[in-house]
Symmetry: D2
Subunit: 356 residues, 4 copies
Amino acid sequence: MSHNTFGHLFRVTTFGESHGPALGCVVDGCPPGVELAEDDLQPYLDQRKPGQSRHTTQRKESDRVRILSGVFEGVTTGTPIGLMIENEDQRSKDYSEIKDKFRPGHADYTYIAKYGRRDYRGGGRSSARETAMRVAAGGVARKVLGPDIVIRGAMVRMGEEQIDYANWDWDQVQQNPFFSPDASSVAGFETYLDGVRKAGSSVGAAVEVHASGVPAGWGAPIYGKLDAELAAAMMSINAVKGVEIGAGMEAARLTGEQNADEMRMDAGEPVFLSNNNGGVLGGISTGQDLIVRFSVKPTSSILTPRRTIDADGNETEISTKGRHDPCVGIRAVPIGEAMMACVLADQMLRHRAQCG
Amino acid sequence: MSHNTFGHLFRVTTFGESHGPALGCVVDGCPPGVELAEDDLQPYLDQRKPGQSRHTTQRKESDRVRILSGVFEGVTTGTPIGLMIENEDQRSKDYSEIKDKFRPGHADYTYIAKYGRRDYRGGGRSSARETAMRVAAGGVARKVLGPDIVIRGAMVRMGEEQIDYANWDWDQVQQNPFFSPDASSVAGFETYLDGVRKAGSSVGAAVEVHASGVPAGWGAPIYGKLDAELAAAMMSINAVKGVEIGAGMEAARLTGEQNADEMRMDAGEPVFLSNNNGGVLGGISTGQDLIVRFSVKPTSSILTPRRTIDADGNETEISTKGRHDPCVGIRAVPIGEAMMACVLADQMLRHRAQCG
Amino acid sequence: MSHNTFGHLFRVTTFGESHGPALGCVVDGCPPGVELAEDDLQPYLDQRKPGQSRHTTQRKESDRVRILSGVFEGVTTGTPIGLMIENEDQRSKDYSEIKDKFRPGHADYTYIAKYGRRDYRGGGRSSARETAMRVAAGGVARKVLGPDIVIRGAMVRMGEEQIDYANWDWDQVQQNPFFSPDASSVAGFETYLDGVRKAGSSVGAAVEVHASGVPAGWGAPIYGKLDAELAAAMMSINAVKGVEIGAGMEAARLTGEQNADEMRMDAGEPVFLSNNNGGVLGGISTGQDLIVRFSVKPTSSILTPRRTIDADGNETEISTKGRHDPCVGIRAVPIGEAMMACVLADQMLRHRAQCG
Amino acid sequence: MSHNTFGHLFRVTTFGESHGPALGCVVDGCPPGVELAEDDLQPYLDQRKPGQSRHTTQRKESDRVRILSGVFEGVTTGTPIGLMIENEDQRSKDYSEIKDKFRPGHADYTYIAKYGRRDYRGGGRSSARETAMRVAAGGVARKVLGPDIVIRGAMVRMGEEQIDYANWDWDQVQQNPFFSPDASSVAGFETYLDGVRKAGSSVGAAVEVHASGVPAGWGAPIYGKLDAELAAAMMSINAVKGVEIGAGMEAARLTGEQNADEMRMDAGEPVFLSNNNGGVLGGISTGQDLIVRFSVKPTSSILTPRRTIDADGNETEISTKGRHDPCVGIRAVPIGEAMMACVLADQMLRHRAQCG
C-alpha cells in the first residue's frame, strides 16, 4: 500500500475531495473477459450512501457511478477501469467554525502539520466520502473473484451495545439499518443511537467481515501476508483503530492447546475443528472462512463543545454543527467488505502468478 | 509491503530458512553519511536471540551479524546494506514427526497448500528465525531516525497474567526476562510460565511498542497511512493476530466526547490532553507518542498431543518435542520495536520527499 | 513502471480509450504548495492536439483538461490530482475494415493475443490518444520542477530528411509545424510530408529532448538509474523503437579518449568539455544538459494495401482509410518533453528523500 | 525498476561493492517446484567472469556462486533465493590516483555529487562487478522460463569493426573470445583490440540479444510495455548509452510500407514476413523473436592522460593504470542475456496473473 494506490496486481488508485466536483478511481490489472456494468457496482454504493435512514448523515448524494473505460461490449478488456461519481450536494455553507479550528480527534490538525494547508470544506480528502470509491472498486473485485467467494460484513457492537453471537443470522443483516446479524439487537441499537444523536454526541462501533469460499493457499509470506494486508486495508479505513484476525487480541490469553485448530478429514477434504486463526496460518489462507474484525472510533464532529486550538495557536473551543453520522461504524460495513474483496482479488492474481 | 520486501524508500528484503546456511537481508534506500557498525546492531539481536533465559528456546545461536556492503570507513554510502547471520545450531535431528504431519495452528499445512512442498527443517521460511533480520534492519533504521526518536517495547500480558499500567516504568523493561515494565508483575509471569513450560504447553502474550519524538506530519493518506503500515508491519510478525493503535478495539465503546483528544497550548506548542488516537489522526502523526499494541498467539509446537492429519490425508495425532519457546510473545518485543523503527524510517524519507 | 502507472514518488496513473467517454489520470505524490491551474496545462495539450496543421490527423478534439481534485485555492494540497479530458469527436464510423483484420505494425494483433478481445474503435487503449494525459501530467511535473529546469524537445529527422545540427535554434521550434530547431529544414520537411500524405503513406521520425538546469546528483543506481528510467519512459511512448542518451548507439564506435568528457573548473564550478554522456554518468545526473533522442516508427494505418490476416485466421489485405497522422513523430515532441518532466519530478523527490 | 531492485513479480535485489567482502542478491517471487542447483548458474557466471582471455581484465575471481536459501532437496520452494559470491581478489593497491580525482566518463564525480562520499576501491558499487549477480539471477530466470525459450546474445560491433550479418551463426558465438556470431570477423576484432589495449586505450561495442520461443501476448501496456522494460533493463547495465528494439533508430527513416511486418498463415499459425518491430507491438510480444540491440561505451579507465578535477576543485590530469577491460562490451553479452531472461520471467508471471 502506498499513498493513494493500494494493491499489487489488482490496483486501486483513488482521488477526490468531499466537496470537489467529483470522486474517482482507476482499477488497474483487472483480468479481461469479466462481465461488468454500472449496475453491478451500484447496489454496494447504495448500501454505503448517506441518508438511508435517520441513523446516518442527511447529506443527499445519489452516488451514481459511471464506468469511463476498460469495459467494451459489457466485458472488461484488461485495460484500466476508470470510475467516477460526481458530487451533488456541495452545500454552500459556513465553514468559518472549522476553517481555522482543529476538531479534536479529526485529521484537521495533522493535514496542516504535514502539508501546511488543507481543503477544509467537508474534510476535503480526509472525509470518509473517499470510501465511496473503495466500495465501487470492491464491486469490481467481487466480479473478479466470482460467485463462489462470498464476502459479508456485519456490525457487532455500538458503544456499550453488542450483538449476541449465538443469534448470528446473515439474512438479518440487510433487514435493519445497522447491518446487525442479530435481530434481537436492533431495538437496543435503535434506542441507543437515537439517544446519542439527540445528545449531539457520537459513538464507536465494531464491524466483522467474513469471506467464505477462499481456497487454501492464497497469501504471500513474509511481508505480503494475507492477514498483514487485511490489517492494513482495514486500518486504512477512516476512524479504524484496531484490527483482529480470528481470535484477535484474545489470542494473548490462550494456551497452545486452546489455540490449536485441530484437523480432521471430512469427505476426503481437510477440515478444522475450530477457527481461532481466522482462516490464516503463516500469512496463507487455510480454506476456512476468513474472519476480520475492526473497531471504528466515534465521529469527531460533535455538537458538545470541546477544547481545542486554532491555526494561529490560540486556545479556543469547538462545537461542530451540520450533517454528521452519529455512528460512522454503520456505514463502515460495506466499506470493510469492499476492502476484503480488493485484498482477495489482488492475492488471487498474485497466487496465480507464482503458483500457476 | 510485498512478499519478502517491505518499505517504500527504506526497503528491507530478507531471505533465509531456519536450518539453511544463513539468514540475510538487504537494506536499500538508507541515506548516506550515517555512522554504522556491526556493534550498533548486535545489542538488538542479543535481545531477541534464543537462550537468554530459561523462558525461551534453548537453541544456541550467537546471531552475529555481518555487514557485507553499503558501509565504507564507518559510514553509510547510500548503496544497499547487505547483512548476514550464519546459522550455527542446525542440529541434526529427527524430523519424522513434523515432516509429514501438520502442526495445528502452524503454517505447515498452508505452505503445502500454496507451494506443494516445504522445507520442514525447523519450520523453514515460516520460522520466527526470519525475524532476526528484521531486528538487524531495525537497528539500521534507528540510526537513520537519530537519537531524538526513542522506540521502546514492553510485554503487557501473558495468558491470564497482565501488568498494572499504573506501575509502568521503562527502566524496568531490561531488568527482567519478560520485558515487563511493571516490576511487581515479574514474579507472577515467572511462576505462570514455569507452569506452562513444565506442562509442555505454551501461552499467548500482548506487546506494546511506543515511539517518542516523532514530529507531527509523518504518514501518508490514504493507503499509506502511518497506522495502516504499522498494522501491516506488526501483523506480519509470526503469530500476531491483532493490532491496536491507541484505544484500539476499545474505541468501539467510546463516545465522541470521550474519544476527542482535546488540545491546548503549552510553551507555544500544541499539546493534547489525552492520547486515545495513539499519536495518529487521519493516518498522519500528531507529535504525541505513537502507541501500538499487538497480540501474539501461543506457540503451536506443544507437547500435548493434538489431532491432525498427515500429508497423505490420514487422520493422526501430533506431539511436538524439542526446543520451542513456551511464549514466543517475549521475544516479539524487540521484533515489534524493529518493525516500528523500519516503518518510521520509511515514512520519514517519504515525508521529506513530498514535503521537503 | 508497471502497467498503467509510472513513477515512484511522483506517480501518474492513466485510463481511457480513444473512443470512450473520457481520458483521465491521477497524479499522486505532488508536493503541496505548488501553484497550479488548468491554464498551466492547456498550452502543452494544445501543442499535442490533433488538427493544428495539415500535417497531423484532422480529428477534432479541443482537449480541454479539467482538474478534479488536489488543488484548493489555486495551490496543490498534497492530495492526488485527478485530471480529465472528455472525448468529443467519437465520430460514428464504419469499423468493419479494422474490426476483424490486424493492421501490420499495429497492436491490433497483440491485444487479441493477450486479452482475447479489444476495443477496436480508433485503437482503443493502444491509441496514441492516451498520451494526452501524459502531456497533462507533464505540465504538473514542470510546475513541481520549477522554472530553473527547462525542458525542450525538437524533431531532428523525418524519413530521409534531417536537420543540420549547426543551425540549432530553440526559438525556431515553435515557429513551424514540425517542431524543427533548424529553420532551413522546414521547407524540405513540408514538401516531403506532403508527398507522403498524398501517397497515402506514412513516415518515421526522430525526436530529441533536452533538460537544462538539472543539478548534479539526481538519479539512483543500480536499477533506478536516471537514464534507465528515461529509456523506459520514452520507449513507452507509442511507436518508439529506439532510445539514446548522449552519444547513444554511436558510443559503440568511440575510443576511451573520444568518449571521456573532460572536466575543468569555471568560475568555481566544475564544467565538462563535451557531453557524450548526455548528462548522466553511473545513472546519476552530471549537471550538464540531459540529452535524450528517440525514434518513432511510421504510422501503421496507411492507405497502401498490406497483406494481413483476420481474426479467424484467413489471409487477406488491409488498407486503412480515415484521419491518421502521416508522421506521428511530430506530435511525439510534446509527449517526449512530458515524459522527461515526469521522470525528473520523480527523481527530484527521490533524491530529496534519500539525500535531504 | 527502482534503486537496487528490479522486476515486479520475479524480483531481483542486489548488493555489494567491487572490493567489499561479497556480492549478493535475493531473487524473490520464483515459482515453486523449479529444479535449481548452483551448477545451473555457474556456466553463465563463467562466461562473464574476468580473465577468460587476454581481451578482458586480468583480475582473478573464480566467481563461485552459493545458494543460501529458497531451494530444498534440489527444487525451489517459492521462498526467496539468496545468492552470494565472495570477492577473492581484493588486491591491496594504491588508490591515491583515483581516490581524489574523477575519471572523465566515470561515475566517480556523480556518486560524490549525490552522496557526498564514495567507496573508491575499484569503483565500489558503480563497478560492473555488480553485474555478476544479474548473471546469477538470469540463470534462475532461465530455469523459470523453461527450455522452450532460448536467449542468446552476440557482439555485433567493436569500434569501427563490425560483423557481417549475412554470416550470422549462433554456433560461432561460443567459439571466440568476442561472442561474435560471424567467424570471419574474429581476426579483425582480435587485431583491433590488441592495438587498443597496447595503446592504453579502450573502445565501445554493440551487443544484440535475441529471445526465441516467447509466445504472443506477453507484456503489459501502457507503462509496463515489454519493450519499455527491456529498454530500462539494458540501459541499467553499466556503460550502456543506447537501446534499440527491432529496426531501432533506423525506424525514423522508414515509410509505413517498409515498416509494416505483413502477416500470412503458415500451417495454421500466424507468421510475419519481416521483423522490423523486433517482436513487440503495442508493448506486447508478437510471437516472433525478440530482438534488442544496445551500445556500450568505452571503458573510462584508460592510460592516456585526460584533463579532470579533484575533489577539492583543483584542475589536474588523470591516467588510470591497473587491470581494466579494454572493451567492456565483450562481457556485456552474458549480462544482456541475463537481463532479457529476468524481464521475460517477470512478464511471464505477470501475464499469467492477469490473463490466467
